[in-house]
């Protein structure tokens, strides 16, 4: 059963009406072509209107839509072959951070790495809600260095409400793990593409999000804190999440306008969850196009450009 967000409901109602009308038409053998056409147009119009006027908070809601494609969904749809690789070779295999080699159209072997969320209660717990522990970040770095060794590009898919704030995570150095990843990703000799596919929360996202191209899917968010936590800290209440989302300017459009990402990957109208196949096809096309450009660059030039890009981020008064 589909989960409906508040602003999806009027559209779903019309869609339901359309189905009913078609059923009735068949059962009673009447011609409803004209009505069906006008209703179809009406639905399309409503969709366009709704989705071009979403508030920032509504984008956040879309980014967390329970039907949204997750890391493995994209990998499965983009790759003919995929071999998952587990473990950080030190402590554990973090189920919230996944990765492995995949093949794209026989053209590219790619190291895919990403946070993985679960689809039902049991899976969500198994995946720790997409919140990696330090071993997740260390596993990711191990996979990146392996990709570098075999001269294969890296694609990171980011979807996390944050790095896990737990007792063991602190004992095992969550901060150190993320810091090391951020620094070492700058020096990777292979092309790195990072795509925010859902939630990009703070250091937990950035820990696998330093790249030559950082892209956001259209209905995602990326910021230093979630609107809820921001509300609780700055407004000292959980009730200002809408205002916090507005203030944080955390959507793909905001981030692109502020020069903090390199581009946006458009989603099917209504969101990636309505047509995951199309969303993955678009993502694959973008990855291929960008990889061709990045592979043509000199290694050191690519690293220097990566460093320079982040060097320019920030607004100061002198």
């Amino acid at each position: 059963m589909r989960t409906l967000l508040e602003f999806e409901k009027p559209i779903a109602e019309l869609e339901h009406k359309l189905i009913e009308m078609r059923k009735l038409a068949i059962e009673n053998n009447v011609d409803v072509t004209a009505t069906v056409q006008s209703l179809t147009e009406k639905i399309l119009e409503l969709k366009k209107e709704t989705f071009s006027n979403l508030t920032r908070w509504q984008r956040v809601q879309l980014s967390r839509h329970p039907d949204r494609p997750y890391t493995f969904d994209y990998i499965e749809k983009m790759c003919e072959e995929f071999i998952e690789i587990h473990g950080d070779r030190s402590v554990a295999d973090d189920k919230a951070m996944v990765g492995g080699f995949g093949n794209i159209d026989g053209e590219f072997s790619v190291m895919f790495i990403g946070q993985q969320k679960g689809r039902n209660t049991k899976q969500r717990q198994y995946r720790n809600f997409g919140m990696p522990n330090p071993e997740g970040y260390r596993k990711a770095l191990r996979l990146m260095k392996m990709a570098e060794k075999f001269n294969k590009p890296i694609v990171c898919l980011i979807d996390t409400p944050g790095a896990f704030p737990g007792l063991e995570a602190e004992e095992r150095g969550q901060g150190e793990a993320i810091a090391r990843n951020i620094r070492d990703m700058f020096m990777l000799k292979v092309p790195v593409i990072c795509i925010i596919i859902g939630e990009g929360a703070s250091g937990g996202a950035l820990g696998i999000a330093v790249g030559d191209r950082v892209l956001m899917m259209e209905n995602t968010w990326y910021s230093v804190i979630s609107p809820e936590s921001c509300s609780s800290i700055l407004w000292r209440s959980w009730n200002y999440k809408e205002q916090a989302a507005e203030a944080l300017k955390l959507t793909a459009n905001d981030m692109e306008q502020n020069g903090l990402i390199d581009g946006i990957i458009p989603e099917p109208l209504g969101g990636a969850h309505l047509d995951p196949e199309a969303a993955a096809a678009k993502m694959k096309a973008v990855i291929k196009e960008e990889l061709k450009k990045l592979c043509a660059m000199d290694t050191r030039a690519r690293i220097d450009a990566r460093i320079d890009k982040y060097g320019k981020m920030g607004v100061v008064v002198e």
């Binding site: 602190e170 230093v224 804190i225 407004w235 903090l260 460093i307 981020m313 920030g314 100061v316």
Partner: protein
Amino acid sequence: MSWFTRKDKGIQTPTEFKREAPDGLWYQCPSCKKAIHTREHRLFAYTCSSCNYHEKIGSQDYFELLFDQTRYTELDALMSSGDPLNFVDTKNYPDRVKATELKTGLKDAVRSAYGEMNGLPITIAAMDFSFIGGSMGSVVGEKIARAIDYSLEHKQPFLMISRSGGARMMEAGFSLMQMAKTSARLALLDEAKIPYISLLTDPTTGGVTASFAMLGDFNIAEPGALIGFAGPRVIRETIGKDLPKGFQSADFVLEHGFLDFIVDRKDLKDKLTSLLGMLQK
């Protein structure tokens, strides 16, 4: 010879080497409540002579403690914050910054400078917790990045003294990217094999821990410093239990293998000098 023992030899204190006590002549230790003469407190590098509590001092104090004769040249002293997001919560961000500037006399939460430490050229960046919780926005990131550039250009060690609650929310995405910006420069410093010492002081958490503070060739801490990624409150809420005593203290972090050593502030200058001296020989 440690900095601490110099007081017995009646070293002359430079005139700029002064710190107003909140209570005139006497400083009361917040930990053991002992009243200490401010002159004595200063001579003990703002640590308690009774319980060794390390007072949360700022950039100016560290510059005075570490640079020879308090001679140093500050970098980017006038750089201040913009308001790229027109951020408004319960206050306008620029108003918040202005009020903090007036209250603290600082331009932002970090100051950077170069000079000599026992004759060794060094670049130091030190954070000020009094400026919006030592939070990292564009200015903090940019000043640290440029301080690292200075170390790179002049091939001299870089010392980062962190004291921060983490990201500056009012700069949202810009704040986050400072973690990447500073780490990128540290990757270059690392590549050039120039020593980087990261001193973590009380408290060092969030995005600062998850970037430059944990990236030292040497990660060292002051005694009793709270060091972590997530803050204690968030962890408590996540696990629904009280945290064990000493959780996220410098001792705890050392015990778990993420610090090279803990250093008493009274020994800081000389210990750093010895360490860097060994690297240069």
